[in-house]
């Protein structure tokens, strides 16, 4: 069982904006590691993040972050950093002043605040622009300075709302590396993103949201494994795909086998474990040269398509 003192716990949380549903009856515990919130626009991702950080109050239910109620900012924000997707800043501040204020407001000494702010700004690669006004930053720079502000106090829980938006591919790779390094040591990183292959790369857990409801949650493999109505697709690259096709058709766990371009066989199976056991025997008996075996739809994108339908990119366009 997940320790509530080390998790982000939603207990029967609903949020309504007047008549409009934000999220409904959310009960879940987010463990340490990188958790991605995935869902189309308006699915409730930002609402969930704003609820975790106390920017919104739940209409029903309770939320505790590491055991701390979200209406106690004094304790909460010693442990939590939040990088919102609101692309606006207090007027007239330089990047360094913007990041430093967070620490000064905590009552930290100016020297310490300067040192920590410099370190955070360095981590996001903005040292040279730190003394310039934020108003003159590019979109990517503004995204990074917000991230610096969110991590400056070394929080245990880091909430990131679309943190890769506006970043070029190089910067995205750097940020993903940073998230992975931050996720060590029992920290929580909660990310919302619609760039699914990047979510796939870094996430330990996913929470799929649609129209305010949590559709699925857990590890990608776990969520995918529970979707029995959608047989798992496995791509097998080998020297004689036709021969392999003839053998796998004999297996009762196989629903479909199709030869694909480039010397591969795409198999759909309802029971992956049994299929792999039988496949070993087939390979040994027939002397096939297997180049690669990869799940073709055991990723966030496939899970998203099966559970919610369409592609996220289309829905965010």
């Amino acid at each position: 069982m997940t320790d509530p003192g080390r998790s982000i716990v939603f207990d029967g949380v609903s949020k309504f904006y007047g008549e409009v549903l934000g999220v409904n009856r959310v009960t879940l515990a987010i463990p340490p590691g990188i958790t991605s919130l995935v869902g189309p626009n308006g699915s409730g991702k930002t609402t969930l993040m704003n609820l975790v950080t106390g920017l919104l109050q739940p209409t029903e239910g309770t939320i505790r972050v590491l055991g701390i109620p979200t209406d106690d900012p004094e304790r909460l924000f010693h442990n939590v950093g939040y990088c919102t997707q609101v692309d606006a800043f207090p007027k007239g501040l330089t990047g360094a002043e913007f990041v430093r204020f967070y620490l000064l407001a905590q009552g930290r000494a100016r020297d310490e605040a300067n040192r920590l702010a410099e370190r955070a700004i360095e981590r996001v690669g903005l040292t040279e622009a730190a003394r310039r006004r934020v108003a003159g930053y590019s979109k990517g720079m503004r995204q990074r300075i917000r991230l610096a502000q969110a991590i400056v106090h070394d929080p245990t829980v880091l909430i990131l709302d679309e943190p890769l938006n506006g970043l070029d591919p190089m910067a995205r790779a750097e940020m993903i590396h940073l998230f992975q390094s931050l996720a060590g040591g029992g920290r929580h990183i909660v990310i919302s993103s619609h760039i699914l292959h990047e979510v796939d790369l870094i996430s330990d857990h996913v929470i799929l949201l649609n129209e305010g409801y949590v559709v699925a949650e857990g590890s990608i493999r776990g969520v995918r494994g529970e979707m029995e109505q959608h047989p798992l697709q496995i791509l097998i690259r080998c020297d004689r795909p036709s021969a392999l096709a003839a053998r796998v058709f004999e297996m009762d766990s196989v629903v479909e086998a199709r030869i694909v371009d480039g010397g591969g066989l795409l198999v759909r199976t309802r029971n992956a474990d049994r299929f792999f056991l039988r496949l070993n025997r087939v390979v040994l008996d027939s002397g096939l040269a297997i180049e690669a075996i990869t799940p073709a739809d055991e990723d966030v994108h496939a899970v998203y398509q099966y559970l919610i339908g369409g592609t996220l990119r289309d829905q965010n366009a």
């Binding site: 920017l55 919104l56 900012p73 909460l76 606006a88 800043f89 007027k91 407001a105 009552g107």
Partner: protein
């Protein structure tokens, strides 16, 4: 407790320059310059109009300044406080930057007080300078005697009284306007309504007079001016009651603001 005071001071230190040095502060400087302009015009009129020669004595100048100060109190200070204090929180909502303050590890009530202190420091700095400057300008034609009168003579007590009233006006108006900015969605109508009540204060019944800022401040004025035929006379409050009364009034307004901000949600409208 000292940690909270440190947080208030940290917010105030961060906010005060922002209140005074942004482009948005330009109207404040114009407002603060108004009394100097008015007194400058009076000085020019004095040169050409013999009827204005009552300013030629220190006592006469003090009487004229009592009228000038009514203009400062009822227009300049009030409008300046509207501009500063209503924007403290509402300005951040309009700039979509309030959430950054809510994400800091300080109680929201502390944030309100820190912002209030920043607003008060800014308003005090500008309008005390305006009050003192206009008073010296009104005595400029008296030369070194005028300066002596204000610094070490009988005018000194008046000067300090006006400075104190300016500081207290910023406390009272600031607290009320900050609360209005937080409690109500439409700011202009309540601000105008409160202003109208302040102007109508001499004509209000005794009980209603007390629900105002100017009632307490008038009790502290060094020279009372005639409030007209229709004014309803109420016993002036002793300074020993007026000053604490004003602080209680301000504390209640700030408590309401603290109550409101604790329940406030971030919804900028287009998310």
């Amino acid at each position: 407790m000292s940690a909270r005071l440190g947080q208030v001071w940290a917010v105030a230190r961060h906010e005060t320059p922002r209140n005074l040095l942004r482009g948005r502060a330009l109207p404040l400087y114009l407002l603060a310059a108004l009394p100097l302009i008015v007194v400058g015009v009076l000085q020019v009129v004095r040169l050409f109009v013999t009827a204005a020669d009552e300013m030629d004595t220190a006592e006469g100048a003090a009487m004229v300044y009592a009228l000038v100060y009514q203009f400062i109190l009822r227009f300049v200070l009030y409008a300046g406080c509207v501009w500063i204090f209503m924007n403290l929180i509402r300005g951040e909502v309009l700039d979509r930057s309030l959430h950054y303050y809510f994400l800091t590890p300080i109680r929201r009530e502390v944030l309100v007080i820190g912002k209030f202190v920043a607003g008060w420091l800014g308003a005090t700095l500008l309008f005390t300078a305006s009050t003192v400057g206009s008073m010296f300008l009104l005595h400029a034609h008296l030369g070194i005697d005028g300066v002596r009168h204000l610094l070490v003579g009988p005018g000194s007590a008046q000067l300090w009284s006006y400075v104190a009233i300016t500081l207290l006006a910023c406390v009272g108006y600031g607290a009320v306007l900050l609360s209005i900015g937080l409690l109500l969605r439409n700011l202009i109508v309540p601000a105008l309504l409160f202003w109208a009540l302040e102007w109508a204060n001499p004509y209000l019944p005794a009980l209603l007079k007390k629900v105002s800022v100017v009632f307490y401040l008038n009790s502290l004025l060094p020279l009372r001016i005639d409030e007209g035929l229709f004014a309803l006379v109420a016993d002036p409050v002793s300074p020993w009651l007026a000053v604490p009364g004003l602080f209680v009034f301000a504390a209640l307004a700030l408590a309401a603001a603290g109550w409101r901000i604790r329940r406030m949600e971030i919804a900028y409208g287009d998310e």
